[in-house]
């Protein structure tokens, strides 16, 4: 009943092509954002903020970036971890080398370096397609791993080759409380997500999707594959790079290249596919699934076990966690190959037609 769009007539094209054409969507989204910005920092526990929400926010940003490339432009990439690393180390170097460097520009510069790196390793996409490209992008991953271990310059020549940041501040206000860190990351997420949404619903977004769906036809109507693909790589790796910088600065605080290993790349690719290719929302669902689920499992399983009076050992626990996690992934893919986002829109459709089944 509540979720109907009848009576909402669009009189201008502008009104028709806004991000959330349906009034209820707008309201709900605004409410949710308000909740995330106001309520969460007030009530969320220390653990929830530090160990769940901050990583969730940062990783959804990265997933968003991956989704631009994989979901919208159809270029499967396994180099995301590397792009994160470049972002993180880039920002770290800028901060450390330029005295009095403000935080936000540093993060953006990190993203910029990631963008250059991404575009360079995006070049093969002009010739190599599909799974071949996916594996080829691993070159970026392993090269970055090596580069940050071997080239001392990136880690300010310290013996271990690890990087650490602390006492971060924006506009003279120190980001120490978890709430402030969370809000800072969230702001990045919201701004960039809006920008991304605008891109994918605009001309460039259509070019990406055209390349994804039927590259020959796209070329014939005058879309340059080179421009479309490289711009997708650029935008995506910029976002991923910023996410990487945030991950290093706000979640880990100190890190080594292993923190952006190939596993990270896989996890990110996962998120966009589980969440839903070509859907901004999907990125959030996917991130939630991959970031929150294992932790949730890890904490719930013992409780479940104890229900049956079983005492579950740590190793057994993490093995079960792996198995359940894997099984869930397969199950979700079977239930809805197009990802959680699709489930959501189906749900919306049903809600619209309610109480009619079809």
């Amino acid at each position: 009943m509540l979720y109907r769009e009848n009576g909402q007539f669009k009189t201008t094209y502008r009104a028709d092509q806004q991000i959330f054409p349906i009034l209820q969507d707008r309201v709900v989204v605004l409410l949710f954002v308000a909740f995330a910005v106001i309520a969460v920092p007030l009530f969320a526990s220390d653990y929830l903020l530090r160990a769940i929400l901050i990583p969730f926010v940062i990783i959804s940003l990265a997933a968003l970036g991956v989704n631009i490339l994989v979901g919208y432009c159809g270029q499967i990439s396994l180099g995301s971890g590397a792009f994160m690393a470049v972002g993180a180390y880039g920002a770290y170097n800028v901060m450390a080398r330029i005295p009095g460097m403000p935080l936000i520009p540093a993060l953006l510069l990190g993203g910029f370096f990631a963008m250059l790196f991404g575009m360079f390793f995006g070049l093969p996409s002009l010739r190599v397609k599909g799974l071949y490209l996916a594996v080829a992008t691993l070159a970026a991953q392993f090269f970055a791993d090596w580069m940050f271990l071997r080239i001392k310059w990136f880690t300010l020549d310290n013996s271990s080759g690890s990087a650490a940041v602390s006492n971060l501040q924006v506009f003279g206000h120190a980001l120490e409380s978890d709430a402030s860190k969370y809000l800072f990351c969230l702001t990045f997420l919201i701004v960039i997500a809006l920008g991304a949404k605008n891109l994918v619903r605009g001309a460039i977004g259509r070019e990406w999707m055209a390349i994804r769906d039927m590259d020959v036809a796209a070329a014939v109507i005058g879309i340059r594959p080179m421009y479309a693909k490289l711009s997708a790589f650029a935008v995506s790796s910029f976002i991923i790079g910023v996410a990487g910088a945030l991950w290093g600065f706000f979640y880990l605080g100190a890190w080594e290249p292993a923190a952006f290993s190939v596993d990270q790349s896989f996890r990110l690719l996962f998120m966009v596919i589980i969440g839903g290719l070509g859907s901004i929302m999907g990125s959030f669902f996917g991130a939630a699934f991959i970031v929150v689920l294992p932790i949730a499992l890890n904490q719930m399983l013992p409780a479940i076990a104890s229900l049956f009076g079983a005492q579950i050992s740590t190793s057994a626990l993490s093995h079960t966690e792996l198995m359940v996690f894997g099984a869930l992934i397969v199950w979700f893919l079977i239930v809805e190959p197009h990802g959680l986002a699709r489930l959501w829109s189906i749900g919306k459709e049903k809600l619209r037609r309610w109480p009619f089944p079809h």
Partner: protein, 444 residues
């Protein structure tokens, strides 16, 4: 829909989290909570399992002995899989539980880097046995870190000395060629500054051969070893890398007697499946080797395993990594005991108080004997400036079946290590804009 789902997820987690906090608030006041970060799965599980067993069994033993002046130890394990992000999550999850964690051992160099930044804020001391930041031995800068019983540089120096002994004096190392086969990660690279320093002093050539983690493929590395024909090979590996290295050495005919491993390359899991092939391979120890006859081992078997509360399987009790885990627990427990002596016996100590205890640790031989660690490690005493407390190590050698000590105690050269620690710590302090503590502040 989306809002609902997310709201649910968040609500659920918030609920679970908060509920945890509540229960802990209600938890028995007479319990000292210690989180246990372990990696019983994943690529490094073979090493992680015995360590974790050692840690946990020793806490059980302490409780069986009646706790620390009556204060029982409450501990909870959290599986990290040796993954940094996961370790951080575990740390965050456990630090607030059961009235708050009073001390934490990350058992991973990567995790130590990350947690070092957080623990200082949370006021929780970090104990790292033979891993983590070498420079954190400087307590004036690293107020909360305790690389007890030795850091990487002690290991590296001891190795050089051992090789020197074999050659008949450090002077003989002049003109020799030593290859360093290391795990390509901060862990592996920690060894380099020390070895470079020694190479410069003793005038031997140091050949650095990185092995990409996890190190399942080392053919190229060992071809290079065969080509360069170094007089000795220092193996600085972890996990699968060690056994693979030994097998490659065997396959390329490099004598195992001339191979010296760091203390993360010198335990049962590293040589177990190489067996005879690793005969003669040496490794520096973090003081202890395998010791089935140590008093503490007997006690654990008697008071924990015989009561059916053993964590692992009986025959592994007393092996290198198991004892290292137990040692870690012992040192933290003694830190707490020391704290109690100052802040009140039979009380539950806060993180800050435990930190003081760890900083004023004085384990005399008598105490060690009483604890059943006679022969396992030497006396340790820490101070504000020195959070490491010991510069001693021994070499043990694999005879094809078991590890046997083959040298007496070697003392790492403080004249070399101390300045390096100071310098590195100062650099860190500068990066972080920290001011190191003055002796006056140390008293607090």
């Amino acid at each position: 829909m989306k809002t609902r789902q997310l709201a649910f997820a968040i609500a659920a987690l918030a609920a679970s989290a908060s509920s945890l906090v509540h229960t802990s608030a209600a938890a028995q006041a007479k319990e000292q909570f210690i989180p246990v970060l372990s990696y019983r799965t994943g690529p490094y599980a073979p090493n992680g399992i015995p360590i974790a067993n050692g840690i946990v069994d020793y806490y059980k033993l302490v409780n069986a002995r009646g706790g620390i002046n009556g204060v029982k130890i409450a501990f909870e394990e959290c599986e990290t899989g040796y993954d940094t992000a996961r370790s951080v999550e575990c740390y965050e999850r456990l630090k607030g539980k059961n009235g708050g964690a009073s001390v934490v051992q990350p058992w991973s160099t990567g995790a130590t880097f990350a947690i070092t930044e957080k623990a200082a804020v949370d006021k929780i001391p970090i104990v790292t046995l033979g891993y983590g930041r070498s420079e954190s031995a400087d307590g004036t800068v690293f107020k909360w870190n305790f690389p007890l019983a030795g850091n990487y540089w002690v290991a590296a120096d001891a190795l050089v000395q051992a090789i020197g002994q074999k050659e008949g004096g450090l002077a003989k190392l002049k003109g020799k060629k030593i290859a360093l086969v290391y795990h390509d990660s901060p862990f592996g690279k920690e060894s380099i500054p020390m070895l470079d320093e020694r190479a410069a002093q003793q005038g031997f050539e140091l050949l650095k051969l990185p092995v990409t983690a996890p190190g399942v493929e080392q053919k190229a590395t060992w071809l290079q070893v065969r080509q360069a024909r170094p007089d000795y090979v220092i193996l600085w590996g972890f996990g699968v890398m060690n056994s693979t290295a030994l097998k490659e050495a065997q396959a390329t005919g490099y004598p195992r007697e001339k191979m010296y491993g760091v203390w993360w390359s010198g335990a049962e899991p590293d040589v177990k499946d190489v067996g005879e092939g690793a005969k003669g391979y040496n490794s520096v120890t973090l003081q202890n080797s395998t010791d089935y006859s140590a008093k503490v081992v007997k006690e654990i078997l008697a008071m924990v395993y015989d009561k059916g509360q053993g964590t692992g399987n009986r025959e592994e009790v007393g092996q290198v990594l198991y004892l290292r885990g137990a040692m870690g627990s012992m040192l933290t427990v003694e830190g707490i005991r020391a704290a109690q002596e100052r802040f009140g016996k039979g009380k539950v100590m806060t993180g800050e108080q435990v930190r003081w205890g760890l900083e004023n640790l004085n384990l005399t031989q008598a105490k060690l004997d009483a604890l059943g660690f006679a022969g396992v490690l030497r006396p340790i005493s820490t101070s504000c400036a020195d959070h490491m407390g010991a510069y001693w190590a021994r070499i043990h050698t694999w005879d094809g079946k078991a590890w046997k000590f083959t040298t007496d105690w070697l003392q790492a050269d403080e004249q070399i290590i101390k300045p390096m620690v100071k310098a590195a710590a100062a650099k860190y302090a500068a990066e972080k804009k920290l001011t190191s503590r003055t002796p006056a502040e140390c008293q607090s």
